[in-house]
Symmetry: C2
Subunit: 150 residues, 2 copies
DNA sequence: TGACTTTGATAAGAGACTCTGACTAATTTG
DNA sequence: CAAATTAGTCAGAGTCTCTTATCAAAGTCA
């Protein structure tokens, strides 16, 4: 039996996905902190990221972030105290409340968006336009079978 | 100026990377648990994953996982109690100790490897052989600029 | 060599995150 | 309407992570 040549990378696709994800998140977090948005934690940010423009229910946030309702509630409490979100009654269901973006979150958003664009530009410069586009396309396809909320 | 069409996906590349990563990790974790390897946590697993075949120093594990040495030590303590790793003196530096894989970790490895292979096969079936290969290639390239330990 | 700095690791304590279980209130269903 | 489901909260415990401080071994350099 012929000896197979060792592939250029022995890392699992999982770790290969994780490394750039973590790099991006760290960059965004660092820039936000130095821009004065240093009063929230990564866990809070991951929930905040999921709040839609018209508000999102706690259960929905918990589902998307794959944490329990209790944990989501705990994190939203803190985001609320720090002025990033408000809780409004949901007109369509009196049991529910909508978590809505507050002023401070709307101020942070463009800062975060700028960093994401910057990092993505660096990636595109390294990979080339073609490969970057293919990467996003493949990841979008992959989302169909890996994101329960796609 | 012509109005640009809305891209097919509005998700940031970061979230697109995260979703399949999380899906893979969850699958592996679930299968390991149902195979009897249910006595470690995700945080412990992320450290265990980094232990090399010849042992790895605590500081190295902490660096790769991007956690503090103290946190890494805390997690290794628990992995040691559960029988997944041992700590051996490092012959080349009497300050250091090598975290080494123990019997239980060697037993879990093939189970984990099988699930990873299974999930990657599903992804390849969805994307096609060509796109899957391109995806891994692009991610490997991206690692050059996003992994400080590449 | 001997003082100084760096590096590997640990200890103590506090804060943050997350879970399970139990509960209330509103809605949906049969 | 009664039963089951769904949205959310409360209480408590366990886990994870950090900061600060300390010790011991190794490296640096005058």
């Amino acid at each position: 039996m012929a000896t197979a040549s060792v592939p250029e990378s022995e890392l699992s696709t999982g770790l290969l996905l994780f490394l750039p994800y973590r790099a991006l998140e760290s960059r965004v977090f660092a820039v936000l902190a130095s821009a004065g948005f240093d009063d929230f934690t990564p866990a809070q940010a991951r929930v905040l990221q999921r709040v839609g423009p018209d508000g999102t229910r706690l259960t929905e946030l918990a589902g998307q972030a794959q944490i329990t309702k209790q944990t989501a509630g705990f994190l939203v409490d803190q985001l609320e105290k720090a002025g990033y979100v408000t809780r409004e009654p949901d007109p369509s269901d009196r049991r529910a409340r909508l978590v809505c973006l507050a002023e401070r979150a709307r101020a942070a958003q463009p800062v975060a968006a700028r960093v994401v664009a910057e990092v993505e530009a660096e990636w595109e410069a390294h990979l080339g336009k073609r490969r970057m586009a293919q990467l996003r396309q493949s990841l979008t396809l992959l989302r169909e079978i890996t994101d329960p909320y796609a």
